[in-house]
Amino acid sequence: MLLRLEPRALPSRWIAATSPLIAAVLTVIGGLILFAALGYDPIAALYTFLVSPVETTYGLSELAVKATPLLLCAIGLAVGFRGNVWNIGAEGQLTMGALAGGGIALAFPESESGLLLPAMIVAGALGGMAWAAIPALLKTRFNANEILTSLMLTYVAIQILSYLVHGPWRDPAGYNFPESRQFQPAATMPILLEGTRLHLGTLFALIAVGLGWLLVERSFTGFQIKVVGLAAPAADYAGFSQSRVIWVGFLAGGALSGIAGLSEVAGPLGQLNPSISPGYGFAAIIVAFLGRLHPVGILVASFLMALLYLGGEAAQIKLGLPVAVTGVFQGMLLFFLLGTDVLIRYRVRWHSAAAGDKPA
């Protein structure tokens, strides 16, 4: 008995819309098996992981706080992914945005000006864009694989951050901890809801959803990006510039990732330290795919991914599980999504003999 895939005449829109849901359900089932295999009561563990973090209003606000950087990075990445521009370095661009924006706060320790925070936000976006411009330039000018260059630059960015907070930017009054000083109030994101950590960055993320939608779904540039992504030869024929698509993809990803990094250090963290992101830039890749590269889908997916982060923390505190369980769930989710996506273009038929791989 082997399964055989038969192409559908038309891609199934119904399955395209529901396969992220199917993937989520399969991930939950995978989680049940994982918890059972580790000797936990699977239902109780899953409850701790997925429900307990969002039982309270504060929990829900934390969900939005965690979703914010994921949403920002993923919206930006999706612009590139639509055009087959593989920016894998959002984590590095996030780090550089945090450094550029945070650097402004550290450079003006006395400032209580209302312009300080806007300047930090602009610097954050520019920092991310500058870091993203490197792989874009190397790709358009020298044909260097952007997956590898953007990823290598992530390692470089993290080392630069580590150098700065261990050295020149370390808080002199910080008992030698590798941390910058705490940002002053004028350099921190305003809180949106009293008693929570919900901050202005979340609003930026929602604006980014709208802008991303306008760019990809409603602009001519967006149309060009999609044509390049779906059929590069057709794009060539139409005279659409591949280089332009690469630049737009990287700069959009860099700007939003940079703002995400700045929002983290000027928001929940309030300072620079060596571990400003638990892999948001990488998780955002999954978020972008889970959301079907569509801004509204990405919005939903970012909250699901944020729940996995909160669940990992809850599982660590309440069950003593390593926080890395989040990564296992993230990987499973993307595997199941990629696996179920096959049903969009194919019907599954069960055959008694191996028919798929028989030579013609």
């Binding site: 999954i286 390593p322 990629l338």
Partner: protein
């Protein structure tokens, strides 16, 4: 004399530092030569590293540790193979998923093994040869895996260019439709190539956790899986150039450590960016000539195969 000693130490260390890259990159070279791009090296290496370490530290011994590391790599690569070859998922995101999964899984499995230590693999001093002045210490006093990596290079080169099976593999990677029409089982061959790549990535990870630095730490591969991927491009898909690249990168890693040790006034964090920057520079130099890459890259690399269309 002391200068010569230092240089010898650096060269011998370079050989060791390049070894995990040799394993991972030669494995990926075979995978890519069959037309499949697996970006999951980092995840497979990490999982191999942690599984190998757990098995060895649990008293099963280092040899079983290496076997377990390879098995773990194969298992992960088969998940990738099932998704991309059987279910025809896109190779780039699936490979990324494999890396993310492997990073999480390895950290998860290795949590209670972070403080443990093992003896690791000891070097073999080849009798007679290792006593040769200068060259003896450089070439004949390494751990067995270093020699295995060189044997692997010879084996892979012979397989690709001198064996019928290697010819078939290259044919499948060049054009799966023609290979299919001739009667070769494209999917089966690709599964084998993907599994070989997984085994070698697992072995590379095992080398790190059992021989290079006998311990387990989260993310201990530090991007070596990605550097190995870059090496395959740098090598324009040829084994001999993979070796050259691997030792070049081993050299950069070791040089950076020695500069730190020698007390250079550069911060260790900035020095440790060197291997990553070197990767970018090398990629740029080699990719500048787009036709050269196009001519050497396997024709069907990364493209999905639809039999009977």
């Amino acid at each position: 004399m002391t200068e010569i000693d230092t240089i010898l130490v650096i060269l011998a260390a370079t050989l060791r530092a390049g070894t995990p890259l040799v394993f991972a990159a030669l494995g990926e070279l075979i995978t890519e030569r069959s037309g499949v791009l697996n970006l999951g090296l980092e995840g497979m290496m990490l999982t191999g590293a942690v599984v190998g370490f757990i098995v060895a530290v649990s008293g099963a011994g280092v040899v079983l540790g290496f076997i377990a590391a390879m098995a773990a790599g194969v298992l992960l690569s088969l998940i990738f193979g099932y998704l991309t070859l059987t279910l025809r998922a896109s190779q780039v995101p699936t490979g990324l998923a494999l890396t993310i999964f492997g990073i999480g899984l390895s950290a998860f499995l290795g949590l209670s093994y972070r403080d443990k230590v093992i003896d690791g693999v000891t070097p073999i001093f080849i009798p007679g040869l290792s006593d040769i002045p200068v060259l003896g210490r450089l070439l004949f006093a390494h751990d067995p895996l270093v020699y295995l990596s060189i044997a692997l290079f010879i084996g892979v080169s012979w397989f690709l260019y001198r064996s019928h099976a290697g010819l078939v593999l290259r044919g499948v990677g060049e054009s799966h439709d023609i290979a299919h029409a001739i009667g070769y089982r494209v999917i089966r061959i690709r599964y084998l190539a993907v599994a070989f790549g997984g085994a070698m990535s697992g072995l590379a990870g095992g080398y790190l956790s059992l021989a290079y630095t006998p311990m387990w730490a989260d993310n201990m591969t530090a991007g070596r899986g990605w550097i190995a991927l870059a090496l395959v491009v740098f090598a324009t898909w040829r084994p001999a150039r993979v070796m050259l690249g691997a030792y070049l990168f081993g050299g950069v890693t070791i040089l950076q450590l020695h500069l730190q040790g020698a007390g250079f006034a550069i911060s260790p964090q900035l020095l440790s960016t060197l291997p990553y920057l070197a990767t970018i520079v090398v990629l740029v130099i080699i990719s500048r000539d787009a036709t050269k890459i196009r001519r050497n890259a396997p024709g069907a690399l990364g493209k999905p195969f639809y039999p009977g269309r």
